[in-house]
Symmetry: C2
Subunit: 152 residues, 2 copies
Amino acid sequence: MTSQQVEIALARAQRVCTLRGARLTPVRRRVLELILRADQPTKAYVLLAKLEQERGKLGPPTIYRALDFLLAHQLIHKVETSNAFVACDDAERAHQSQFVICEDCGATEEIQDDDIVASLRRLGEMRGFAVERQVIEARGLCPACRVGQRQA
Amino acid sequence: MTSQQVEIALARAQRVCTLRGARLTPVRRRVLELILRADQPTKAYVLLAKLEQERGKLGPPTIYRALDFLLAHQLIHKVETSNAFVACDDAERAHQSQFVICEDCGATEEIQDDDIVASLRRLGEMRGFAVERQVIEARGLCPACRVGQRQA
DNA sequence: GCAAATTCGTTACGCTATAACGTCTCTTAG
DNA sequence: CTAAGAGACGTTATAGCGTAACGAATTTGC
């Protein structure tokens, strides 16, 4: 993601927050920026280390609070099987995300498939559950690592 | 699960292991039994505490090694969003599991839906991924807790 | 029986996440 | 204007999850 794209995403995030009466504080904004600039899912303690480089010693709660805020507003998603965080393309629209993750290199792609979400919701409802959140992740080998695997 | 059902499950597990040339050692067997007897998903450190009551101080690796073995042979599944383990109904057949989990009481039901597994596999393959493992979990409120929620 | 492999105990450590409390700031109603 | 309340953040401590590394003991295959 180019710096310009990051700026655009940050501006959009600011807009979303303002609309919702939420505050995109400096910490939250900076954490979102770090996630946006990363080309792979980012771990909480990596974010913490970067933030501490800039601001001196903080602590895990500072990061986790920012992450909780960004998650609540759908500005980021959590990849559960990696314990890592990625930026979300469109926070405006409420939606669920799915991911495919490479076991080898960690490459992660977001999927947006309404059908699979509906299917899982239906399976839950058939059992009387009111489904609120879905975690749908596929792990395996990305195209690049499949090639490497064959040659190894 | 009744004690008799537990015994049957353990015998079946023993059979599966023998067939595969794997050893269901006392530790592994006991861990499986503890998971079978629990009516909810069980956490690693809970298992560790119970095992240490019986055998004196051990350590996390003892439990995690047993869990890894049981997972590898599909005798148990891991509920990723709960960091907990449940017994598997049929280890003979290779399969993926899905779960619905109650946010309120932790009640967890296993789903076996081949269609959703195939869907996610296809979504991964469309992106060039060789999908090896799937995590599909729905979190929400179980029937009992839905009622409580309305009254509260 | 002996070498190799598997299993397990043990110690230590790293990563993930939250509880609890105090301070500061910002809003806002009076 | 100001006091009260809410929200955000810093800080310390701790709980929970998981693995690395090493050595002893046991099992297995030859």
